[in-house]
Amino acid sequence: MPKRTDLHRILIIGSGPIVIGQAAEFDYSGTQATKALREEGYEVILVNSNPATIMTDPEMADRTYIEPVTPEYVEKVIAAERPDALLPTMGGQTALNIALALYDTGVLDKYGVQLIGANARAIRVAEDRQEFAAAMARIGLSVAQGGFAHNWDEAHALLESTGYPAIIRPSFTLGGSGGGVAYNREEYETIVRRGLDESPTSQVLIERSLLGWKEFELEVMRDCADNVVIVCTIENLDPMGVHTGDSITVAPAMTLTDREYQTMRDAACAIIREIGVEAGGCNIQFTVSPVTGDMLVIEMNPRVSRSSALASKATGFPIARIGAKLAVGMTLDEIPNDITKTTPASFEPVLDYVVVKCPRFAFEKFPAADPRLTTQMKSVGESMAIGRTFKEALQKGLRALETGRAGWEIGSRLIDDRLEDATLETLRGMLRQPTPERIFQVKRAMQLGMSDAELFETSAIDPWFLAQMRELLEAEVAYAALTDVTPAHLRGMKRMGFSDRQLGRLRNETEFDVRGRRHALGIRPSYKMVDTCAGEFPSETPYLYSSYDEESEAPRSGRKSVIILGSGPNRIGQGVEFDYCCVRAAIALREQGYETIMINSNPETVSTDFDVSDKLYFEPLTLEDVLEIVEREQPMGVIVQLGGQTPLKLTRGLEAAGVKILGTSPDAIDVAEDRRRFDAIARSIGIQQPENGTATSVGEAVRIADRIGYPVLVRPSYVLGGRAMQVVYDDVSLRDYFETAARVSEERPVLIDRFLEDAFEADVDAISDGVMVVIGGVMQHIEDAGIHSGDSACVLPPVRIPAEYQDVMRAHTVALAKALGVVGLINVQYAIRDGEVYVLEVNPRASRTIPFVSKAIGVPLASVAARVMCGETLAEIGFTEEIVPPFFSVKEAVFPFKKFREFDPILGPEMRSTGEVMGISESFGLAFAKAQLAAENALPRSGAIFVTVNDRDKASVAPIVKRFHAMGFRIIATSGTAAFLAGQGIPAEKVFKVHEGRPHALDLIVNREVVLLINTPMGKHAQRDDYTIRQAAIANRVAYTTTLSAASAACDAIEALATSQRVDVRPLQDWHAMLAAGRALPA
C-alpha cells in the first residue's frame, strides 16, 4: 500500500533527558524516524528538551521545539503547529505516556491529531498488567503470574494468581534472606510476614517460580497489510531476575532449537496482532524453563526500545526508520533493505556472526547504591561487539566496556570482582546474586575448580554459555603453559577474541611484544560485513566488524579518508554529547567530500547508524582495535578530540605508532594535563590559577595542602566527569582520599588546587583554526564553585557576571588557545572571586557543552571543528565572530537519584548527572523555569517553602526568602533558621527537626505540605536528617534546591512565571532566524 496522502505534518515526541533506562537509543530512533518521514515528503515537528541530541539539530526536523516534554508543553506545540498526526513510538515510555495523556484529556481530538504507529488501545493493553494477561489468555499464551506485595492483604490477593508453591522474595535483603518457598497457607503467611519485616523497603515479590528460567527477546514489525517479520532474536546470558538492560545479551538466540524458536515466533506474531500494533514495531520478552521448555510471555513494548536499537545494530535492519515508514501506511515489501539496496524490507535478517551486548554500570559514582542487579535497570550504558563466535564477541564486548578489562579477565584484586575472599564458599554466595562482576566471578569459580554443573546451579547461566567460557579459560591455561608459541597457537587465540594485552599478560609480555610478533607473522584481523542476509546477496553498505578469518570485505576506497573515534559506551561524564560531536563531524566531512570512517562500540547511538558515515567499524575503542583499522584504511588522519576521554586516552599510543592526529597536537593535549608545563604557559600569558601543586604521594599532598591552605580540591589527572574529584577540608580527609583514589589514578599524579569557596564559575567554549580563535559561548554556572560543571545548571549568555569579567575570560581563552596551538575546540573553566578571574581547567577538546552552545548560538561547533581540523580556516567556513544571542538558554542537569534511593542527592565535584535539558526564552527566569520543568523539578507558583540551611548560608538566604515571601509564599523553617529569618523581618513558621518531635520537617514533605525545599548541607553531624529530608523531597516530587544560587535562580524563574501571561513555545529554527537577522546588521 502506498503511503498516506491525508497526512502532511507529523509530530514526533522525543524522550527528553538521558536517564537510566532511557538513553541515547531514543536519539537514534528519533533521528531515523525524522529522516525517514521527511524522505517521504512529510513535514516533521519535533519536541525534545534534550539539547545533546542529533535529532534536535535544526536541520533534522522542519520545526524543532526544545521545550519540556510534558503534556502541557506538547499541547502548546500542537496548538501552534496543528500537526495531522502524532508518532508516539520513538521517544520511549515518556513519549507513549504523554501521547496517552493527550489522548485521554481529549487534546488530540480537539486539534484533530491522529495517533499513528500505535493506537491508544494498544499502548494501554501493553502497559496494564491485567489487560495484558487477559489479552494473552485470549490467544492461548501464558504470562508469569505474581507481583509485588507491601502488606499481608496484598500478598494474600496475589496468592490467587500464583497458587502453591509460591516463591517469596523480599526486596533488598542480603542473599535472599527472609525468602522461601511456601507449600501451604501457614508457610505462606509466615514467610511473607518475615519477608516484609526483613525487607528494608517492606516489599516482597511473590511469583510462580521463574528464577533461573531463560530469557529471550524478539523484535517484531507489522505493517498495515498485516505482514509480520521478526527482525532479531536476543538471548540473555543472565537468566530471569535481571533486567534485560542490565544483562549480557546475545544475538541471535544461541540455545533454541527450531521447534522452540518457531513456537516463540508464532507467539510473537499472535501477540503483535492481538495487542493491535497496526503499523510499527514492538519488543516482546519471553521466558523458557530450562527443564521443561515451558514458555511464558513476560511483557511487550509497543514502541522502539533499547533492545530495538541493539537489534537494529545487530542485524543491519533499521527498526525505527522502517517503523516510521510503516506508520504512514507503507508496507514492508515497498520499503527497500537499506543495506543490500536490492532486496525488500519484508524479510527476516539472518546473521552469520554473533553479537554480544555488555552493560556498563556507574556504581563507582554511587558507592552507597545497592549493586545487586534486579528487575530495575541500573546500568548507564552498554557496549556491543560482533564476532564470528560467542567467545570472540564476549571478549570484544568486555574490552569495549573500557573498564580496564582487556577481555574476560578477572580483576587484579578480589575487590575488583566484588569479592571479600577467594573461597568457593564466598563465590557460591555471590554467584547466586547477580552483580556487574558476576561474569568475572564465574571465571574465578572455574579457576578454583567449580564444575559447570555447580555454576549452573548457583548462577542459572545456561550450560552452553558456561561451556564457552570454560573453553576460553582452558585455551588461556594451555597458552600460558606453552614452551613455544607457534603461529597456529597465536592465531587460534586471536580467533577466540583474546586481545594482545590479554595474551601479553598470560606470558609476561607487553601488549606491544605480542603485537609486534603477531604482525611479523602476518596474523591480522579480517573485516566482514554486517549485511542482513549472511552473504546471500551482495551488499552496498560497508558496516564492518573484525574477526580472525580469511577474507576481508569492503576494501579501501582510495578516497581521502578521515577516521573519527567515537566515545564508546555511555557512562556518567561521557554520554550522548560526545556522540553528537562525532556525528556532526562525520556529516560535515562527508559534505566536504572526505570519506568518513567511524569507529565505535556503542549500539545506542546515532554514530553507529550505518548511514551516518561512509564506513562504520563496530569495534572496541582500544589501541589494538583502532590501530588495525588505521593500518587497513590508511586515513589522512584520525580525529580524537570529539569523542571525550575514550579517544583522548588513545592519543599517545596512536601517535607513538605514527598515526596522524588531526587538529590540536597530542603534545598540546598533554600540556593542558601536565600541571608543571601548564603553569609555565599560564604564567607567560599572565593568567591566574588557584594555588596548586601536583602530588605523587600522600606525604607530598599533605605538604602541598599545608602550603596552599584548606579547603583544597583534589583529583587525579586525566579524568572526565570529575571522577574521584573531591573538596577536602583537612589532613585526615586528604589521607583518606589517597587510600580510595589510588585505584583510579594508577601511575598518574594527583592534582591539588586551592578551593575557591563562594566563587562564581563559568565555562567558555571556543574554536581555533590555529590562527584565529572565535568564542563559541560564555556560560555562567548557576551552582557555586565546587560543583562539577557537568552537574551545574548554566546560562548563556551570563546573567550575573559583569561584562568586564566576561571579556577577561574571552581574552584568556583566546590567549590559551593560541599558546597551546589549538586547532579545533577548546573549553576553559573559570572561577571569579573578589574581582579576580582564575583559570580552573583547560581542555583542548570538545566539551560536554558543545551541543548546548551550538543550539544556543545556531552554529554547529563540532562540524566547524571537524573542518578546521582538516585544514579549512574559520574565515573560509564563515565563522569569525562570537554570537551573543539576544535570548537566554539555560542548561540543567538531570540526576539518577530516584533510581539510587540510597544515595544522598548532594552535588559535588564528582559528576553524577546522566543527562541534561535546555530551556530557551527571552527572559532568564522563564528559560530557567522551562529547564527546571524539563528536568522534572517543576517550580511551584504558590504554597509553602521549607527553608533549612547551614549557618554559613543563613545571611545569604535571607534576601532570597524575602523575595519568596513578597510573592506570597508561606515560609516554614526549622528553629535556628526561623529565628534568624525573624531577625531579618521575615515571618517564618517553625517546624520540628526530625529528632525534635512530630509533626516534623519530614512529615511536611511526605504530606506534600511544602512545594519547595531550600536546603544546604549541614555538615557531618546533621547529615542523617538532611539526607532523609532530601530523599523524601525526591520521592514525593517536591521541588528542591541544595545551593543558594540555584534557590535564587528558582526565585527569578517563579517571578517570571508569575508576571508572564502565558509561556510561549518557539521552534529552534525561529530562534536561529533571530540570530541570523541580528548578524545581518552591519557591525
Binding site: T257, D258, R265, D266, E348, D352, F390, A467, E536, D549
Partner: protein
C-alpha cells in the same frame, strides 16, 4: 541412526574443501574422513540444523551453514525430518563441543560421525558462501589434508554433475506404506521423491490417512488407491531428470483428482504442463525468503530449499499457458507458486511445512484440504 557402521573419529586434523573451480577452503575434519564429493550448497537457516541434515532434499549435498555456531542445542529424537542423515558432508565455522537443551539426547558431532558424515569445521564459511553466491553452486570434495590430495582431485573430476541427475528416485521410499491412522476423514496418496516427515505430520493433523508411494508409481496404481487427493513431495536433484513423473501427473490430473505439490513436486507440475526448469545460480536455502501471494498482496516469510526453479515471472510460466502464477519471491522475482487454470492442481516452491523455518505458510495445507472437502 545408521546401525552398525563404524562412526567417524571425533578427533580432527587439517582438512580442506576443493571446489570444481579450483578454489580451496581450509579447516579441520574428522581424522579418518574419506574424500567425499557432492554439490556444495549453503543454507542461511539460523536454527534447525538437525532438520536440515535429515531433509532428503539436501540428500547428496555438502551443506555449508552460514550460521557460525552449530551444535549448540545438541540433537534429539523428535526433530529429524527423515529416518537418516541425508547430507553427504557439512561445512561450519565452529562446531560446538558441548550442547544444552532440555530435549537433547546427545551431541551433534557424535551423531554426524555415527552417520559417517564428514564435518569440515573452522572454515571461513562467509568467504565460501560469498564465493558460491557469485560463482554459483558447484561440486566440491572434502578430504583430509592441508591441500587436496590427488585422490580427492580425481574423485572430483570423475563425479557426475547435478544437472540431469535423478536423485529423487533413490531418495524416495521403495515400498508403499501408510502414515497415520486408517480411519481418517480423507485419504491422500503422497508420491515420495524424498519426503520430509513434517509434511506427513501435517496431513495427519489435518485428518488425513496418507499412503506414501515410491516415486516411480504410475497414475493407474495411484488411482487404484482411490485417493481424495494426490500430494507430490519435495526431493533432491534435477526435476527434469525425473522423466517418468509428467506421465503420472497427467494421468492423475485427467481423473480430476486434486493435486498439490511442494518444491520438487511443484517443479514437476510446471514441467508436466509445458513449462521448463532451470538451475539457479545458488538456489534458495534458508528460513527467511519473502514470498508474495499475488492475489492478496500478502507477504509470507517462508522456508526454502531448492536449487532449481520453474522458468517465468509474476505474469506467466514460460511455455505453460494452462498454469497461473500465484506467488513470487520478493528477492529475485522467481516463481514460488502455481495454480492450474481449470483443474484442481496447485503447488508451491517454498516449504509451507517448514521444519526448520517459520510457519507463515502453513495455511497452504488448509487450502488443499478445503479443495478436497469441496469435492466431498
Amino acid at each position: 541412526m545408521t546401525g552398525s557402521v563404524t562412526p567417524l573419529s571425533l578427533e580432527t586434523v587439517p582438512g580442506v574443501l576443493l571446489l570444481e573451480d579450483g578454489s580451496t577452503f581450509a579447516g579441520l575434519i574428522n581424522a579418518d574422513a574419506v574424500p567425499t564429493v557432492a554439490e556444495v550448497v549453503f543454507t542461511t537457516n539460523m536454527t534447525g540444523y538437525q532438520e536440515v541434515f535429515t531433509d532428503p532434499s539436501y540428500g547428496g549435498q555438502i551443506v555449508v551453514m552460514t550460521a557460525p555456531q552449530i551444535g549448540n542445542y545438541g540433537v534429539n529424537t523428535e526433530d529429524p525430518e527423515s529416518s537418516r542423515v541425508q547430507i553427504s558432508g557439512l561445512v561450519v565455522r565452529e562446531m560446538s563441543r558441548t550442547y544444552s537443551n532440555w530435549r537433547a539426547t546427545g551431541d551433534l558431532p557424535s551423531w554426524l560421525a555415527a552417520a559417517r558424515v564428514p564435518t569440515l569445521q573452522e572454515v571461513d564459511t562467509r568467504r565460501l558462501t560469498r564465493h558460491l553466491r557469485s560463482a554459483g553452486v558447484m561440486l566440491g570434495v572434502v578430504s583430509v589434508g592441508i591441500v587436496p590430495s590427488d585422490a580427492a582431485r580425481a574423485l572430483l573430476a570423475a563425479a557426475p554433475r547435478m544437472e540431469g541427475a535423478d536423485l529423487a528416485t533413490t531418495a524416495a521410499t521403495q515400498t508403499m506404506y501408510v502414515y497415520g491412522a486408517q480411519n481418517m476423514a480423507h485419504h491422500i496418496v503422497a508420491v515420495d521423491f524424498g519426503i520430509k516427515e513434517n509434511m506427513l505430520r501435517l496431513f495427519s493433523e489435518e485428518g488425513c490417512k496418507v499412503t506414501v508411494v515410491p516415486a516411480t508409481t504410475t497414475a493407474e496404481q495411484i488411482l487404484a488407491e482411490k485417493p481424495d487427493g494426490v500430494f507430490l513431495s519435495n526431493g533432491p536433484g534435477d526435476p527434469a531428470a525425473i522423466s517418468y513423473a509428467p506421465a503420472m501427473i497427467r494421468g492423475v490430473a485427467a481423473a480430476g483428482t486434486p493435486i498439490f505439490g511442494i518444491c520438487l513436486g511443484h517443479q514437476l507440475i510446471g514441467l508436466t504442463f509445458g513449462g521448463s526448469t532451470t538451475k539457479m545460480p545458488f538456489g534458495h536455502r534458508g528460513g527467511n525468503q519473502p514470498v508474495k501471494e499475488l492475489a492478496t498482496g500478502k507477504v509470507l516469510i517462508t522456508a526454502q530449499n531448492h536449487g532449481f526453479s520453474v522458468e517465468g515471472d509474476a505474469t506467466a510460466v514460460t511455455g505453460a499457458a494452462e498454469l497461473q502464477v500465484t506467488h513470487v519471491n520478493l528477492n529475485d522475482g522467481s516463481i514460488e507458486g502455481l495454480r492450474h487454470r481449470t483443474l484442481p492442481i496447485f503447488s508451491v516452491q517454498y516449504h509451507p511445512e517448514a521444519a526448520p523455518g517459520p510457519h507463515d505458510a502453513r495455511p497452504v495445507f488448509h487450502d488443499f484440504m478445503a479443495t478436497l472437502r469441496a469435492r466431498g
